[in-house]
Symmetry: C2
Subunit: 425 residues, 2 copies
């Protein structure tokens, strides 16, 4: 096994290359590294394309304007994996993610420029496609630090942030263990789903023998804006979602609510964030048979404009004291917008980044559809505060939380290091 | 029950409206039809958008340039459904599809312009989105005409095209009944997945009590071009797919291979086509560990350019007689491109319109991914000829057919009629 190097990842480890090309090719001169004379392949996609930097103070994919499509995967480490394997995997993932997000293939050899006698390093389905705004964001689950039975597999138990705990059970949870948890996660967001799928696929190949996918989720439509430049999208209840979301253009709130600050916990998390995923199945048939007025009362906003029921336009601040002619609250006591509002959560806000999903249909012919909720926050306590408040949410009649996970998202990597390096320093 | 009218659908039937608003609202003045004074809602989406006509000689979504995203659903009729229910359902679907494809909501009442005391007719998640090139294509499965035990539920058994038979068992089939078959199907293609999902969802609501979804499939990336104006996309094997596909710009081949001609069968099918779907799971891990040269030999084309191994560029015609220095066939006897080529299939060609899919992952952490194959052809015999030929295909080592269905696709409707009207004339 290769000893992790101190320097930046300049290529995949032997294990990473073996993951790409597979055990059957172990005796071959492995593809990618051997063709260093071939330069970075140039993306030759048509049309405009956004490219986000991979390296930086924070990981991309958090305050980045939410891309249209998602492929998210949670991984478990192999039972045989060592601390060195974990470090090497993170170095390999950093190397590959830095390339993929810039529109390059996973190695210089790529899909077609390696040896014809070796399996291609890159699976090739993104050949010719531009970077498409791809961001790749890595996170560490509680079980990476300590397994459920208390084992410290990688010698990092004492580095575990005190806040990184499995989420408590919430009222109405109907969690399926197979749709939650995980030692590691990768969030791949892009404006082209083929690019996001290509990233998760090739990163999971690299992990071969060290980590494997525990669960994964495709999201076809973003349900939040994270920039004031974006139109507010709609969720599958047909309502605008994320109107009051934290926006990148509000750096004070981002600093206060999203990024882990110095002194918040272990130094290696400074500049990072906490990521919560909740797979929320919508009971669409019940919702669809609910009166328009009742739907609007449940949300606390109008369906068309997305304005608070207290009046105004989409971005008008809700007036929770506003009364109707009969003296009733215009925004009800159990309206979603009231219970999720910072005034009701002790000031806690979440940067939401969820996606609509449809996973086919159930045996009764109902679409298996809903919201794959993602939020980033400085502390998981913010999510817990909001979610506990939502125990009284009128919306609960129409949703079921079936998956749950939490991850510590380390800060961004510098170009001479790798994501999560601080954890092992 | 409303007697089917002879005239064009000018609104949803009472049953269709009840499907939208649900049984709970049966006592209300139903939403959509009651607000006829409200004009067609105007799509207010941003950005360019293509709108395809719904009515015409042929249904749209066949030779239409293949859109980027797919939502496909197969339906079974309710056990209580009558012939009149079927006719009324087709009229309702025609009415709604004609609106949706033009970027309108499912009825004039839509999501927000109906009564606040009724459930909205439209689910609303496509509010503000343009038509996005949406096409909606309807088909009839063999079981619509005669159930497996020979029952003629709708008095149309004698109208069944002789060619519309369940597909024979092919070598290597590993079909799951729950991913195949169906009395009816709807193919919704669009450049925005939210628009395609919205269409299937609202059409399935309309069907409430008359038909329900049997199986459904999302596809995130097109794998075929049906127009010379389109770039050839890649499948999840990383190869360009559909280079030699039938293109709309070749009307002679389209007429010869895609559209049912007068005299081919029952008159009601003239101008229609036959639709085959095959859910093909790719054994991605095995493929990814195969040498590049072997991958190219399996396909018979280069991975980068997509040129035939006999030489040239992507669109160069393969030379199946070309030999290498050692006298070997440059395109092997079991290469996919050789076996699927019209020279090997007795001239049979297919208009392919498939999509890449990822349905999450299996319990071993492997992506459940592959190709949702769709083809349109003048006769199912064309598909059978090709598929039988592929029994020797080297690609079979890397794929598994898990779903199969066939549908008779009636011609397009005129503006004074509905899709499939000829079947009941």
């Amino acid at each position: 096994m290769t000893e992790p190097e101190e320097t930046a990842p300049r290529g995949l480890s032997r294990r990473g290359l073996l993951g790409l090309v597979g055990a059957g090719a172990a005796g071959l001169a492995v593809g990618g590294g051997a063709v260093a004379a071939v330069g970075l392949s140039q993306p030759n996609g048509v049309g405009v394309s956004t490219v986000y930097p991979f390296f930086g103070e924070h990981q991309a994919g958090i305050t980045t304007p939410a891309q249209d499509r998602l492929h998210f995967a949670a991984f478990d480490m192999a039972s045989t994996a060592t601390r060195d394997d974990l470090v090497e995997l993170l170095r390999d993932w950093t190397y590959a993610a830095a390339r993929l997000t810039q529109g390059h293939e996973v190695t210089e050899g790529g899909a077609v420029d390696g040896s014809p006698l070796a399996p291609p390093d890159d699976t090739g389905e993104a050949l010719g496609l531009p970077a498409s705004g791809l961001t790749i964001t890595f996170g560490f689950g509680p079980t990476l630090f300590t397994t459920d039975d208390g084992t410290d597999r990688f010698g990092i138990a004492d580095r575990r942030p005190a806040l990184l705990e499995k989420l408590p059970r919430f009222s109405g949870d109907a969690l399926r263990p197979e749709s939650g948890g995980g030692d590691l996660c990768i969030q791949a967001c892009a404006d082209d789903p083929q690019v996001a799928v290509h990233a998760i696929r090739n990163l999971s190949r690299i992990a071969f023998g060290r980590a494997s996918i525990r669960w994964s989720q495709l999201g076809f439509g973003r349900t939040s804006s994270t920039s004031t430049s974006q139109v507010t999208p709609r969720n599958l209840f047909g309502f605008k979602d994320g109107t009051a979301n934290i926006k990148a253009e509000d750096p004070a709130t981002v600093a206060d609510q999203v990024w882990v600050a110095k002194g918040d916990g272990p130094a290696w998390m400074t500049g990072g964030s906490y990521l919560v995923t909740r797979k929320i199945r919508m009971i669409i048939e019940a919702w669809d048979r609910t009166q328009l007025q009742e739907q609007e009362n449940v949300i606390g906003r109008s369906k068309g404009e997305g304005a608070p029921l207290s009046g105004g336009k989409e971005f008008t601040e809700p007036d929770f004291s506003a009364k109707g002619a009969a003296g009733q609250d215009l925004i009800g006591a159990d309206a979603h917008v009231r219970l999720a509002h910072p005034t009701a959560t002790g000031g806690a806000q979440l940067l939401r980044r969820g996606y609509n999903f449809v996973d086919g249909n159930d045996e009764l012919g109902r679409l298996d559809a809903g919201l794959f909720f993602i939020s980033f926050q400085r502390s998981p306590e913010q999510f817990v505060a909001v979610q506990k408040n939502l125990a009284r949410d009128a919306l609960n009649e129409y949703i079921k939380h079936v998956g749950s996970a939490i991850f510590a998202v380390p800060p961004g990597a510098t170009t001479d290091s790798y994501v999560g390096a601080g954890l092992f320093a």
